[in-house]
Symmetry: C2
Subunit: 564 residues, 2 copies
């Protein structure tokens, strides 16, 4: 161990972090947080990196934590720097990712007293955190015990609940003194979280609802719990009355799952047929659902959903039909239900699967003759995603396009769908690439990419990062959804038209650049992008037609609709 700060609250936090097994630390430059910079670097247990823009830094940390499924520490100076963490913290909050934001502060007696970089930091971000802890300056043994206890609690909370916490640390000058170690005075405790099981009475009551149901639909969205369910859902899929719908970033691959929801439901939406696809028992697993159309469908027919079970910790009643919130791991419960005697007279699951396969054919027919456009580009991208890749789907139209294409086996999909902001998608992909040995493919719209271009300043550990930017000259999402296109202010305000190439921006950051303007150049450049011999972060800019792409997308939807 090298030198660490002689400020006890700092050395205590750093030592506890090491003992709790946290390894990745994203620092931002500053003076008030210098004791942390010195200590995380000096301690020896941590992988430290420094990122200038705190907003980007926090999303990089999010990307690392997303891949490692363990907490990452963020540390910045006092004042507005802290607020730049907030977009990533709220994304972590709703995506159930553990981040530990360690924010330097002035001592409380100096707040609002005209000191530089100071503001009311205590309680600043409580709406978007699972816990907010404020350390004290240590003058007594009790102060030390207090800090030691709060730090333990903060780390345990972030780890057990898998959500973000803040530890705010008031620091007084001098900030640069060091010691060898203060390990002896530091104690750790851990928290044993009981495993939760349902009682037999509860299981029986679920069983009777399951048996009584004629149309069962299991919907799986993004979430940590989903992966445990893969095996049981595969088996359950054999049940003729059970339909299993998965969104791409649930990362549940099985040929028999209905995995492209929007494409599958397009043909019956708002027709007389749509009620046939509404379950009487809806079982949901995971967080936010991307498919707005599915949500609208179930809400239109909420009266038909006799029972809605949601596996989760908080009341989330997305379809206005919730009957049971089930606060346990879904896998054993589903396993128990799967083994109940099947009733083969109901064909609800088969009906969904037939629809899925029919629309898959329809999708392929359209794509076979589809001209160069956003949609066609996504087909090619999907064709070239390498085995084992980690795909980061940008907001907002990118993720919707991805969900139209069959999920690939041995490929993992991620997206910032907690609050679905565009400000940190590139940075998140950078962090994910750092934390993974696999090829990380990030696909982004041009606007989101321009927004978060500070992400490219991060160089270390991104050799495996491949970025495709679909440059359709603006926020094309607003041409896909109804409403905006009819307004004269749409161009330039609701969508933001920008015809610039991103080439110079990419070159400024010393990142390799490729471009494509049509199908031929796209195929060549994707091959080059995915070449296993490529050894550095590379951006491929794909220019697509701004006006035609949404038109072709609408034709695609019309073509799907025409399915009988």
């Amino acid at each position: 161990m090298g030198e660490i700060s002689n400020i006890s609250s700092v050395s205590t936090l750093v030592e506890i972090a090491a003992r709790k097994g946290v390894r990745d630390v994203v620092l931002s430059p500053g003076s008030r947080n210098a004791p942390f910079i010195i200590s995380f670097n000096g301690h020896g247990a941590f992988n430290c990196q420094s990122i200038l823009d705190e907003r980007s830094a926090a999303f990089v940390a999010l990307g690392i934590a997303q891949q490692q499924k363990k907490p990452v520490i963020l540390n910045c100076t006092s004042g507005s720097a802290v607020l730049n963490y907030s977009p990533a913290l709220v994304e972590a909050f709703y995506q159930n990712i553990p981040l530990i934001a360690v924010t330097a502060d002035r001592p409380s007696e100096w707040i609002d007293q005209g000191e530089g970089q100071s503001m009311r930091q205590v309680g600043l971000m409580e709406n978007i955190l699972i816990g907010s802890f404020n350390l004290v300056e240590e003058h007594t043994e009790d102060d030390h015990w207090h800090n030691n206890r709060l730090i333990n609690e903060a780390f345990e909370m972030a780890m057990s609940l898998s959500r973000p916490v803040q530890i705010n640390v008031p620091l007084k000058e001098p900030l640069y003194g060091t010691v060898e170690s203060n390990e002896d005075s530091i104690k750790t405790f851990d928290v044993m979280i009981p495993k939760a099981f349902l009682s037999e009475i509860d299981l029986d009551s679920l069983a009777s609802e399951f048996n009584a149901a004629e149309r069962i639909l299991v919907l799986v969205a993004q979430g940590n719990d989903s992966l445990n369910c893969l095996d049981v859902l595969r088996e359950m899929n054999a049940d003729s009355k059970v339909a299993i719908l998965t969104e791409t970033h649930a990362n549940l691959y099985h040929l028999g799952f209905v995995s492209c929801i929007d494409r599958t439901i397009e043909s019956f939406l708002k027709s007389q047929l749509e009620s046939d696809y509404v379950p009487d028992l809806l079982i949901t697993i995971g967080g936010n659902v991307i498919s707005k159309k599915l949500k609208a469908l179930f809400r239109r027919h909420k009266a038909s959903i006799t029972n809605h079970w949601n596996f989760g910790d908080e009341v989330m009643d997305s379809y206005q039909s919730l009957t049971r919130l089930i606060k346990v791991d879904p896998a054993p419960v589903l396993s128990f239900l799967k083994d109940l005697p099947q009733n083969t007279q109901y064909q609800f699951g088969n009906k969904w699967r037939a629809q899925f396969f029919q629309m898959e054919q329809r999708h392929l027919s359209f794509l076979a003759k589809c001209p160069y456009s956003d949609l066609k580009v996504f087909e090619l991208i999907n064709d070239f995603i390498p085995e084992g890749a980690n795909v980061q789907m940008g907001n907002s139209s990118v993720v919707r396009y991805f969900q139209l294409f069959n999920q690939l086996r041995n490929v993992s999909y991620f997206g910032n769908r907690g609050v679905s902001g565009i400000e940190g998608c590139t940075s998140t992909a950078v962090g994910a690439a750092q934390a993974s040995d696999d090829v990380t493919l990030f696909v982004s719209g041009d606007q989101a990419f321009r927004y978060d271009s500070n992400a490219l300043a991060v160089k270390s550990g991104t050799e495996n990062l491949r970025i495709i930017v679909i440059n359709n000259s603006g926020g094309n999402i607003f041409r896909i959804i109804d409403g905006p296109k009819d307004h004269p202010v749409s161009e330039g305000f609701i969508e933001k038209v920008d015809e610039h190439s991103i080439r110079k921006l990419v070159e400024y950051h010393d990142v390799d650049y490729l471009e494509a303007h049509d199908l031929n150049s796209l195929e060549q450049s994707i091959q080059s992008l995915m070449d296993p011999k490529r050894m550095m972060c590379t951006v491929l800019e794909v220019f697509t037609p701004r006006i035609e792409s949404p038109e072709i997308f609408k034709e695609y939807l019309e073509f799907l609709k025409e399915a009988k």
Copy 2:
């Protein structure tokens, strides 16, 4: 008037904004806020612009409001977009600048229900706002009256207190319906703020303290009240016992004021002489003080400060010596005190002025032979600032360098010294340039410039913006202050070394670019930059030596110290 949204809360807000005289609106693209985008554009009373990065958008609004001294409206979509406003809002809070953040939200019943771009927005930023208002969906006349009242209150609060407010607006689909007008149902009220005067008893008690004092020091920092005091302070400066110290961004120009505080005090700091410069009556006007050394001096001798009067609205006791918080406009009070009979036996004011002029000579002697370095570059910049210019001083070393050089007559100085963050300085300068017909000169360090480069995406109204980026390859501030330089982790962590030129970044944004590497090229390029025939936003990158610049700065301080 064109079309406006048919959502009553939206049209009411927009109409009240127009009636209250607000004209500038900074929008960011989005769908949930489309009713506002349509209405602000459609109404006809507003100058609307669209900026993609909400963080940058909010700082642009800050720059406009700083120049116009009236509120600017911000509007963005729901979710994390809102949090990107927070760094500019906290800066506005501590700099007393009125911003009105109108944030779109989901209806409250849909929060935490898995909807996209939704989070707990109510009360989210209360720590950094003077007021936070949450509108309701209008179903009854009372709802409309409620919203109408809250909107009036929010606008009046921002205007009368000159600080930021948030109006959070829950919006339900459909979002794109329009009407011609709903003016008839909208009412405005205004708030009459009483003018505050001190009683004669209070004035007499100030007079007796003023008379009894032997050493009076008036310190003026950034703030709206300062400008009113110019005339009275000029006259007061004739009083032999009164020293008047002004920071650059107080914008009080007078040859006899001590306007370069750090340079003036360097020679006596921590010597036996320093106590002679401490007042027994300290009078402070304005907000945060930049000079850390002056603050430390007064704190070291707080026992000698018998009375400290602070003109302001809140308790701010920066020197641990506050005796009176005076909640009135300082100008008439100072005017009353100035007219008291003078006691010419005390020479405290003259002592400060003599010190100021002596150190000015010393400063000039050093600069005459100073080699090419950050310090020398600032001398040249000062020589070429055009008459009438508006100077935007970047954080963090830039503003400290500026304060070493005599303030120029007919030049105004601004800086984000509320919380002194670096994330929005360029954007603030962009907004200030838009709101001014004068040349706006923004001087920035390279790190702060890279951080906020999204600011350059704004093109409209920036023809008068000239930017000088001092590229010393990193956060040089940390080489000037003691402490960091002794740590091996300093390079790359506390300071962030970056050797890149910003040329490509600037060219990507289609902004003109100039560069300088030495005194000769600097002089030529500054002339070109300041050429009145230049008609577009231009960036001059000045490369300065990373290691030598702080060394030369230290020699400068040593040279000042050697003054007898």
